[in-house]
Symmetry: C2
Subunit: 294 residues, 2 copies
């Protein structure tokens, strides 16, 4: 099949004008090549597309049908070119984001909104991952970019911090310490702690434990749960205390109060991506993150 896009364009123009001379002028060629290309097209198709007399040209029934098809195909090519160029510019495509729950409570929503406003044609796929899984899914390419509190960044992964917030204490409302506006971490010694498991959220776990140790005590861990929301819920039920990122205070529960603590411990959120990731959507997303970080 040696049919050429040029022949399709010639054919469509001729079918629209039904005049070899005028069609050739529209195509910026002379009339003989148009005659020849149309003849070649008919030859290759094995179908007579035009009924010609030396006085007038008209489409056959098959020609009318081929006209519709040719227009469709030319438009499909045009659309394919445009969308492919848009894909390379990162204006369309798929961007898979892996995020942790702590990110979901802080930077994720505004960052996604800022990016989505600037790249409305991109299909943003959000996948929650456990903090310890993030590096793996980035390296294996299951997601393009992660938003999390980073932990043990292996070679090949890039990192850009965009947000930091202090750790704060979350206490049952009825707890005596809840009357203070700021809590000394040392005063939490002996309190039952509710924490995230080290295996799932190593960075946050270590930050909390380290914070306690530097205040001179080893926290007594009463409960472990995978979700920070659950920590706050359990605190509200009076089952213990915890140290959580300040953004968790967005949870408004009658039984739980959030208090600043005596030492500043920052929980950092940033974007993490594989250096070799060639998703064209990524640069724009990183640019958004960079802007967002200031």
């Amino acid at each position: 099949m040696a049919i050429d896009f040029r022949q399709l364009r010639y054919f469509v123009t001729l079918a629209d004008t039904l005049h070899f001379g005028r069609a050739a002028a529209l195509l910026h060629i002379s009339q003989p090549p148009l005659s020849r290309q149309i003849a070649a097209l008919e030859e290759e198709l094995g179908v007579t597309l035009f009924k010609r007399s030396s006085r007038q040209v008209e489409l056959t029934v098959a020609g009318r049908h081929f006209h519709q098809q040719a227009v469709r195909i030319i438009e499909a090519l045009d659309g394919a070119v445009r969308s492919t160029q848009a894909t390379e510019r990162g204006e369309r495509g798929v961007l898979r984001i892996g995020f942790t729950m702590s990110a979901a409570w802080s930077v994720l929503p505004p960052l996604i909104k800022a990016y989505g406003d600037g790249a409305p044609e991109v299909d943003v796929q959000l996948n929650e991952v456990l903090p310890r899984e993030l590096n793996d899914v980035l390296i294996s390419g299951k997601v393009d970019v992660g938003i999390a509190f980073p932990w043990q960044r292996p070679a090949g992964l890039e990192y850009l911090p965009i947000h930091a917030e202090p750790l704060c204490a979350v206490l049952p409302a009825a707890h005596p310490l809840a009357r203070q506006t700021e809590v000394a971490v040392a005063d939490l010694a002996g309190e039952p702690f509710i924490t995230l498991p080290a295996a799932t959220a190593p960075a946050l776990h270590e930050l909390v434990i380290g914070c306690c140790r530097e205040s001179g005590f080893e926290p007594r861990i009463r409960l472990e749960t995978h979700l920070q929301q659950t920590i706050v819920n359990l605190v509200a039920e009076g089952l213990g205390v915890s140290l959580v990122p300040w953004s968790m205070s967005k949870m408004q529960l009658p039984g739980a109060v959030f208090r600043a603590i005596s030492v500043t411990r920052m929980v950092e959120q940033g974007v993490i991506w594989a250096a070799g990731n060639d998703n064209p959507c990524l640069p724009h997303f990183l640019a958004c993150a960079r802007v967002f970080g200031r």
Copy 2:
């Protein structure tokens, strides 16, 4: 835009094999032209489609997208070629048939079925027309072929008879003549007649009137109606008698009986078409009609 179908096919093959040498072999060309065409395609698109090292080739994200599009476009061209060829062979398309009520009661159903079985892809559009309108809609091209009892065939219209049936009498069941198996037309003299208007069905009207006149009487026309079914209905109600094509006896009404008449008057049904009609579906339909006529 000088993109060529050849470039699309080269691209798809390369995207499938990810190896210039093997792709070139599959395409029955040598490797250099493949490299050049791919480079030209990337140049025209302004998009890098492959990430090449001298050891391995892989698609970029934009290249994967263009691959899908290219496959779609190539398939669309292939489908367009096939369907255009089928259109010229008359295997698909639209065939508009204008038929009269008398045809609908006799030849239309089996003829449409025979044609439709042999050309299942053709969209057969059935339009009822009044007998006097048929020639006009054929000449103006509103329908491709007519099925009717022909009347005053003008130049440019072709005709092929396919069916003939005798005229018969339709009488109220209680009528004295209904006791006979055959009715002498002359015996109907004086009976109130129900006929089709001459203006709408000139051929049938003239056949009925002529039949009476040759039997020596001028029929007394009591009622005129556009539909033969209505004639039979009115006869069943005892409002009069009529002469109708034998196929009308398919109407089983308790109050009406059909009887052979003493003279043979044939009602002919045939197909009529404009000599210049170039609908490729027409020849096959006419062939069906010819077979059907025997």
